[in-house]
Symmetry: C2
Subunit: 228 residues, 2 copies
């Protein structure tokens, strides 16, 4: 079973066809998950989430009771905690529902502390093993996560650019067969390499590294006023 989750990030950053994406996923038996305000957003998109997680602090009591009526499995987090809402959600979908993959929406845009929690949470040792099963998607970005080894990075039709970020210390990172190569890069701190591309006529390149966690960010340009 796959899971599709919507977090509380601004609607302006969602892919334009998000309603279709979630409805099709639900028809195919995917677990539909709302995190905090994402529960309400899903309801407004005409979906009945299977699982809801959050402290729901920012919601009106009426909204909160709507969530409890509609969602069969609601789990409450507390603001003073070691685990964030997103982390509780990861634990629930992978450990309790045993999903094989998680597509995460509403994780970007708006407050940058929220986005950075959603991105950097995968560097935590207890969540690192889940990272390769997670895909973080918004209107113009698709992020996959890789653990050490030799990986083939395949092109995605709708995305021209591919950036790489070592989210923590990395050892002997190599990018082979992309437009811009990188050889034997090691670093004690995170670094982002933006705007790489697939070579013309090639639909993949090789990524190898020995230690760390690497995010691969597929992205595309939009009209400059697309977000206004």
């Amino acid at each position: 079973m796959k899971a599709y989750a919507l977090l509380g990030g601004p609607a302006g950053q969602w892919p334009t066809k998000i309603a279709t994406v979630f409805h099709r996923a639900q028809e195919r038996g995917a677990l539909i998950v709302g995190v905090d305000r994402g529960c309400l957003f899903l309801k407004e998109l005409g979906l009945s989430p299977n699982l809801g997680i959050g402290d729901f602090d920012s919601l009106h009591p009426r909204e909160e009771s709507q969530i409890e009526q509609v969602i069969p499995d609601v789990r409450y987090s507390t603001p003073i905690k070691d685990w964030t809402d997103s982390e509780l959600m990861l634990h629930a979908v992978f450990h309790d529902y045993h999903v094989s993959a998680l597509y995460l929406f509403g994780a970007t845009g708006g407050r940058l502390d929220h986005f950075l929690v959603n991105l950097l949470t995968f560097a935590r040792p207890r969540l690192r093993s889940l990272a390769p099963k997670v895909h973080l998607i918004d209107k113009q970005n698709w992020i996959d996560f890789y653990r050490p080894g030799k990986k083939i990075i395949a092109a995605k039709k709708a995305y021209l650019y591919v950036g790489l970020v070592n989210l923590m210390a990395v050892k002997d990172l190599n990018i082979i067969g992309a437009k811009y190569s990188l050889r034997h890069f090691s670093s004690m701190y995170p670094r982002a390499f933006a705007s790489n591309e697939f070579r013309s006529g090639s639909d993949n390149f090789e990524l190898t590294f020995q230690k760390g966690l690497v995010a691969v960010i597929y992205s595309r340009d939009l009209n400059r006023f697309a977000n206004v």
Copy 2:
């Protein structure tokens, strides 16, 4: 002298009063800097940048010649390079123009590989010493950077939340006197702590740490459709 720079990020993420901010800054003698498409955006806002930096690859030749006519100091970067456009800009404003502070706009939203370059660039050893002089600002976030020591983090009127991110390994991080405290936190990898707040009646808290680089992210909620 202070510098105000506009990068190529989407206009939808700029603070709403960005034109006023830049015009006032220029009246007060600040250096106005455009990076790549940011040069054109500044022109459209009615400003004459003092410095322009970029590969200008995505621009029409006509747009490029406009930039050369209007901006007295234009510096070209190459796509195959160790320094990004933003890094070249940092070098130019701090080493050539000797500015005391840099206010950076258009660094967020849109392509996440671009944003992460703009954020993580300050973890690079040769740029780390500049970080405390840089303020990264968009519609709902204000990011400051801190190097090790004992710091007083002051509240900012327009922002309810304050998040912290250690952008690299950190040693003995303490948050004292905020709504949520943190004691003796050390980590080999970056981690984001979102949604902290100033205590009611208090307009600051203490941040101490021994090693690393910490980003303090002031943020606020906006109407959920503000970005649509």
